[in-house]
Symmetry: C2
Subunit: 130 residues, 2 copies
DNA sequence: CTGGATCCGCTCTGATACTG
DNA sequence: CAGTATCAGAGCGGATCCAG
């Protein structure tokens, strides 16, 4: 739109913008949380149940980071017992597209990667044993 | 292709495939290296010069991982001094598409994220000072 | 020129226990 | 129910020196 799109978005600014994003979505749970919230807002406990293996600590930290970056909104209802609902913001939803592209690639090539990696390690082990 | 794409690729298998990929491209230099190799094979020194700030160690490790996963090919010419050329494989090139999608999102929203984060931190600091 | 080896610090992550 | 606090472990990433 600005007419200056000829630089690669990946290397554009030396990768700083991309780095900033990867530092967030690169963490173990971020994308899973975002994907889980895709269908609508959820409570803390709901999220915890839908993310097998996550600890309260990591769920809290992940949500805090997402909230800080404006990808997730937090709504606390002043009741007892407390009820807090997390939901994606417009920005948060906009991340799902690119994330899906990456996830698609992952689903398609993950078996390949593991295969190659296994083969590679086997080769190295053999070379070592010999 | 297979007709069984109704599960979300992100949460599909609990995120294992996606995790496997993020564990690789989530590292600081992987995507930068891939992007730098996009226009053709390069020598080790070339890559080092085109990736300001990377250390020899991390360049070596990154290339080794990419090679192990079959995303990058390594061609050593038995000369003196040594000459080693790294290039993207077909699989490696196929990663550029999704990566570009993510980078595009990053370029578009990174300023937003930093802004929000700054605002958030300012708010917290103020609350602390008071 | 291309890398291997080592030391070191930082952050991510998880388990556990405690609070409003 | 929804977090916070603390402790400990593991891995990434960087700087530096050395070798083929």
């Amino acid at each position: 739109m600005t007419g200056s799109e000829r630089t690669c978005p990946i290397r554009g600014d030396g990768g700083r913008a991309l780095r900033a994003v990867l530092d967030r979505i690169g963490t173990r749970w971020t994308l899973l949380v975002v994907a889980t919230l895709d269908r609508g807002g959820l409570r803390f406990g709901e999220l915890e149940r839908r993310l097998p293996g996550i600890s309260q600590r990591m769920l809290t930290l992940t949500l805090r980071n997402l909230e800080r970056d404006g990808l997730v909104s937090r709504t606390a209802h002043p009741e007892v017992p407390p009820r807090v609902v997390y939901a994606l913001t417009a920005t948060g939803r906009s991340l799902i597209g690119p994330a899906l592209a990456l996830a698609g690639w992952a689903a398609e090539h993950a078996p390949d990667l593991e295969e190659r990696r296994a083969a590679h390690e086997a080769r190295e082990t053999a070379a070592h044993d010999e």
